[in-house]
């Protein structure tokens, strides 16, 4: 099996700030690939680059061998029908019920009868365990339920690729367990390819087939869960163990404390 997504030596900056400098990532078909890294490192940006919402300054991003970067707007919209993204907030439409949210992509992109759409929606909601919540509004759902409803919406068109943006952030242990199970099971049952962007180490090590660790504008480590656990990089180990100080310093760079408080006299 080939690769579904190939990120080839990209450079990306926001204003003056360099986010990526020569990052390359491949996402094999049918696998779960995780991208981990500290907060603020631009993990969500990576997903937006794959979705074509942002464009890299240099380098190429290919989806099923077609370059996302050089696609026309209409080609890009066509390609996006084959991918979907689970946003951190869920991004459910607040003026619609859960049922209508899940039906939304089907109504927009297919000419199916309402009966068939209702059946598909019920099956998708059943897969995430929320068939009973179909008539609820997003404001009535808990955080975990909202994310599962959004997951049902993102699989409603049976995409090839699904991108998860911090799926475990702010979830209680039960919701987290449910999401871990869903990501793995949906990937295998629906023959999906998944990219999970997260900083929750424990959960990701249990489900990811291959892991990249992003820090300091580049990939600092990659491999299977075991390879990552045994990595000899101090930065990777600091990240995995959650140590407060290390290659990523506890203190944001500042002038010497003694110097700035007492002018060096103390």
């Amino acid at each position: 099996m080939g690769n579904l997504v190939e990120i080839d030596n990209i450079t990306f900056r926001r204003g003056e700030r360099v986010i990526y400098d020569g990052v390359s990532i491949v996402v094999p078909k049918g696998k779960i690939t995780a991208v981990m890294g500290p907060s603020g490192i631009g993990k969500t940006t990576l997903l937006k680059l794959i979705g074509g919402q942002l464009a890299p300054e240099m380098g190429d991003i290919r989806f099923d061998s077609d370059s996302i970067v050089s696609m026309s707007r209409s080609e890009l919209y066509k390609t996006r029908r084959r991918m979907s993204m689970l946003f951190q907030s869920g991004a459910l439409f607040t003026d619609m019920t859960v049922h209508d949210n899940v039906a939304f992509p089907l109504r927009e992109h297919t000419k199916l009868d309402e009966d068939i759409i209702s059946t598909i929606v019920a099956l998708k909601l059943q897969a995430v365990g929320l068939r009973g919540a179909a008539q609820m509004k997003p404001s009535e759902l808990s955080g975990g339920m909202a994310r599962r409803a959004a997951l049902a919406r993102s699989i409603s068109l049976d995409p090839d690729l699904i991108m998860y943006d911090e799926p475990f952030a702010g979830q209680d242990p039960i919701s987290m367990g449910v999401l871990v199970k869903l990501i793995r099971e949906l990937n295998d049952a629906l023959d999906l390819t998944s990219i999970v962007v997260t900083h929750d180490v424990t959960e990701v090590l249990t489900i990811a087939d291959y892991i990249y660790i992003l820090a300091d504008k580049r990939i600092i480590g990659q491999g299977t869960a075991d390879e990552i656990k045994n990595s000899d990089s101090a930065l990777v180990q600091q990240f995995l163990k959650g140590e407060a100080d290390g290659p990523v310093p506890f203190h944001y760079p500042a002038a010497d404390l003694n110097e700035s408080l007492f002018g060096g006299k103390a």
Binding site: S84, M85, S89, A91, T94, P105, E108
Partner: protein, 258 residues
């Protein structure tokens, strides 16, 4: 030097912002033909138009009543209180109807549009539409733009009509101006092309500007609570200033040169 750099940077930022606003407007205008958009547009007409009716009707009524009261006290001194009808009607149709409606619309519906679109951006709903291969310009911006464009001229006409009735209530029913002269002088003075149609044209221009500013400010807002609050304020301030400035230009073009 720093001062000039700042001025240059601000000017460039303004120009790029106008460019983005123009691109968004074109996107919204060309997104009209889709059949799927029609129910969405009708729903928005309800939200921005029908739900603004109360404030428009109440304001129109009171403004008409106040004008009749003020007009009567001045006209009666010249024995010309019979001209109250044309005075009320012309002021409303030419000026107050379109202008006050636009100002009220900016405050009632414009700010709501900005906040709604800004919040959709902050909660990643616009991003998720894009990722679902649904163009937010077509799905979110266009229906609101067209709804604003249809609603405001209708609201302005309702405003003027209610204002004229308010003028009748005070001038005729209360102060005793002859009902026949109120209506017949109005009928003979008000011209369809010059007064009514020009008023509607003004209102259309204001609708375009106010809705455009409201939608763009939401679409272009910084997706934080502070950013949305700033965008909402800017919508009301910029659209009010634009309406008043444009009103002078349009009045000069329509009525200034005889």
């Amino acid at each position: 030097m720093n001062f000039f750099q700042q001025v240059g940077a601000n000017t460039l930022a303004r120009l790029t912002s106008i460019g983005r606003a123009a691109l968004m407007l074109f996107g919204a205008i060309f997104a009209m033909p889709s059949l799927k958009n029609i129910p969405l547009t009708i729903r928005q007409v309800y939200v921005v138009g029908v739900q603004s009716l109360l404030i428009i009707v109440v304001s129109g009524l009171f403004i008409g009543m106040v004008m009749a009261l003020q007009g009567y006290t001045i006209l009666v001194g010249y024995g010309a209180e019979g001209s109250l009808g044309p005075m009320v009607a012309l002021s409303l149709l030419r000026e107050l109807g379109p202008v006050v409606t636009a100002l009220l619309f900016a405050g009632r519906a414009g700010s709501a549009l900005t906040a709604e679109i800004g919040l959709m951006k902050a909660t990643e709903q616009l991003s998720s539409l894009e990722m679902m291969a649904v163009d937010p310009l077509r799905r979110v911006v266009a229906p609101r733009f067209w709804a604003g464009l249809f609603s405001m001229p209708a609201l302005a006409m309702i405003f003027s009509a209610v204002g004229i009735l308010g003028g009748h209530l005070v001038g005729v029913d209360w102060l005793g101006v002859d009902s026949g002269s109120y209506w017949s002088l109005m009928q003979s003075t008000v011209e369809l092309q010059k007064d009514v149609i020009n008023g509607v044209l003004k209102s259309l221009v204001f609708a375009l500007v106010v809705t455009w500013i409201a939608i763009f400010k939401g679409y272009d807002s910084v997706p934080t609570s502070e950013g949305i609050s700033k965008a909402t304020t800017e919508t009301v301030v910029f659209s009010s200033l634009a309406v008043l400035g444009l009103d002078f230009v349009l009045t000069a073009l329509m009525f200034g040169i005889e």
